[in-house]
Subunit: 430 residues, 2 copies
């Protein structure tokens, strides 16, 4: 008896799923010992020209997919919160296992959906929700499960990595590269979700919840986007032997977990520094395995299709082995969150000041009052009687840095604080 | 009822397994919904001082472990072919699932052992046999299973990567760096298995068999080691925007598969070029997922322990779900092997010639007779009336290159052919 699949949504990702199932049908059948058939696909648009076709029902009526008793597996690739959430709950209630690529939904309602899957005794897999084709969810849930994960650092938004890579390699400005990315289809017309870090924050909430076995909600993630990064900042970073990446950072400390998405200055020797363009990578540190990294295409029809179809194949194997729902929700802890003011990093601070005696000395005093000292200082003349100063601090509490910046802002010789960027490095010594 | 574990071998890796099981016992129990207990450990040496201890029987009598009816899972970390092979077969016959880290054994007898596991209805996992803590076997067998894998490129021997990294970064000679690696414990007193490529070949036979679903035996792997690579070669590679790595290469072509381990000149822009020191990485290309890479520590007590204990946890979940043996042998094809003379790569050829007119022209003619043309040529004076020439060819058949080299050797103006190194790049254009 073939296993029958219903698909919710036939956009780019939905078409990718159909393509992968069709082009590798023979191997998929041999590898799962099951024939997999697409029985029905839900989409509002029944008439659009698509690259794919097949022997399935294309319908705009959800119940024809969700309530078909022959369908064993539902693939949700419509995106958005509703009606995707309701459809998945309904599918589980009707005894179907579910695969979804929906990061928004898993980040916000993963708990509810995984509980529903457990209650129904069915699988809910969502590998494609983070990192496209990169198998990071399976790695965290299974292959690294012997570890206490202490750190997850991710480049998990291709748009911002494309922009920062082009700015770093070509010395170009943010606005220009963003416009190019929009033309190439790497950035959306309204790029906010990517460039402001929200997309990465959703994915980080998912990764951190799994890595630390403790639910991390989207609202728990501190978020800062890349729109303030300039080509000057990237040039200074290069002078310091570093580059700038939008990092999704989750760390497990004795006193709690911290989860944050922001531009970070990263040494060129770090494995993530070599991740260029639209590629994604997730760097994971475990107490036994040490440093690992998982690299690949974080988006796209076929890479996402790879993750989704591999999840379908897991479910097919589980159905055969009668072992569904063996590894759904893994959040069995309730760890405290570290507050933002307790984040502890080194900082890069770029200032425009009056080029007068004692300015640097006064700045050093203002930081020293907050117990912050410098690892490195770069000063360059800027026009008449002005200087640009880049201060690199030793690691300090975020709260102390904010206090110091308040004093610096009030100092009359400081014309502007042009950027403040965190380092991702224990203690930058240059 | 706790699941009971028997361990064969209490050397470095065996101690790593015990440590990981002990230090993360609580999480492991919660994650698997099973208590895991080490019941007995087999080792010849009952009295050696070890860093670990526990409430288990340490015995030198195999039957006390293999025939204990209470033991559910056997971990084989003794290494070598015999008696490891016999012990694993015996364990499976006694109804135990098995985890092994033994690359030599899996490369040579994986077929027999996986068949025995299938016949017994038990699991045989061997994630730790390739890439230490890097979950590459699970990725190929499960997370990327929707793909046709077309290419696997691995840096899967830490010793040689340590040596080549130090030679590239510090301009040092092979012998000196090898001696240092031996002092640091990164290379063995007899380094042949590492530096001659045999260790990587064993791991590649395992990876290629899984990636292409077709059994690749150790004898099918073309192998060449790194001992002929000099600091000059690394300097020329750098001039060409490249570096040299010992690569394990498996490619799936329409006409067959090719599997080879040899030093390869790799562009610095390739993700594997950034893999430094003792780290390992496996770069995998699939028809749906595109390019992916898996990076981490390829050896060591705890990283290997991470892979082994994660495999134990899979078995624990499978036992609970009564679904063992669902994914053992995956070699359902029997693909032809491409012959060595049909390998198709670009070549780097370093020659010492007499510095006389027409020498380069004659060389070009000799290669042209074999239908080989050059992408790049570097010539440097060497002492009186001699010149060193580096020829970079366009991609050509290995057979054609060998023919051309025979003519070149016979040419009286050629004093020596000092090195011939394959490129890993479609067509090097500089």
């Amino acid at each position: 008896m073939p296993l029958k699949i219903g698909i919710l949504g036939l956009g780019t990702v939905g078409c990718g799923v159909v393509k992968v199932l069709q082009q590798n049908a023979e191997d998929i059948e041999t590898r799962t010992h099951s024939e997999l058939q697409i029985k029905a696909i839900l989409d509002r648009d029944l008439h659009r020209e698509r690259e794919i076709s097949g022997d399935y029902l294309l319908t705009d009526q959800p119940e024809k997919v969700l309530q078909d008793p022959e369908i064993d597996i539902i693939v949700e690739v419509m995106g958005g919160i509703e009606p995707a959430r309701t459809f998945i709950l309904e599918a589980l209630q009707h005894g179907k296992s579910v695969v979804t690529a929906n990061k928004d939904l898993i980040a916000l309602h993963g708990h509810e959906l995984l509980d529903a899957a457990n209650a129904a005794g069915k699988d809910l897999y969502f590998e494609a929700s983070v990192g496209g084709g990169i198998p990071i969810i399976a790695a965290l849930k299974e292959s690294l499960s012997a570890n206490q994960i202490t750190e997850v650092l991710g480049i998990i938004n291709g748009t911002t990595n494309y922009i920062l890579t082009a700015m770093a390699e070509q010395g170009r400005d943010y606005g220009e590269v963003l416009a190019e990315a929009q033309q190439l289809g790497y950035a959306e017309a309204n790029p906010s979700s990517d460039v402001d870090g929200l997309d990465a924050a959703r994915k980080l909430a998912i990764l951190a919840s799994i890595a630390f076995n403790s639910r991390v909600a989207l609202k728990d993630v501190f978020v800062e986007g890349i729109s303030k990064i300039t080509s000057e900042d990237l040039a200074y970073a290069a002078e310091l032997g570093c580059t700038i990446k939008l990092l999704a950072i989750a760390k497990h400390h004795a006193e709690g977990i911290e989860v944050r998405v922001h531009p970070a200055i990263l040494p060129l020797t770090h494995p993530l520094a070599a991740v260029k363009g639209v590629f994604n990578a997730i760097y994971v540190v475990g107490d036994a395995v040490g440093e690992t990294m998982f690299y690949g295409r974080g988006a796209g029809s076929l890479p996402t299709g790879s993750a989704i179809v591999s999840d379908i194949m897991r479910i097919a194997r589980n159905i055969q082995a009668k072992s569904t729902a063996s590894i759904n929700c893994t959040c069995y802890l309730d760890l405290p969150l570290k507050s933002v003011s307790d984040f502890y990093t080194a900082f890069y601070i770029r200032l425009l000041v009056k080029d007068e005696p004692r300015v640097l000395a006064t700045l050093a005093l203002l930081f020293a009052e907050a117990n912050i000292s410098f690892a490195s200082i770069i000063q360059k003349p800027r026009g008449e009687h002005q200087a640009e100063i880049v201060l690199v601090t030793h690691p300090c509490r975020e709260g102390a840095l904010q206090e110091a910046l308040d004093s610096v802002k009030a100092y009359s010789k400081v014309l502007s604080i042009d950027n403040v960027i965190r380092f991702e490095k224990e203690d930058p010594k240059f």
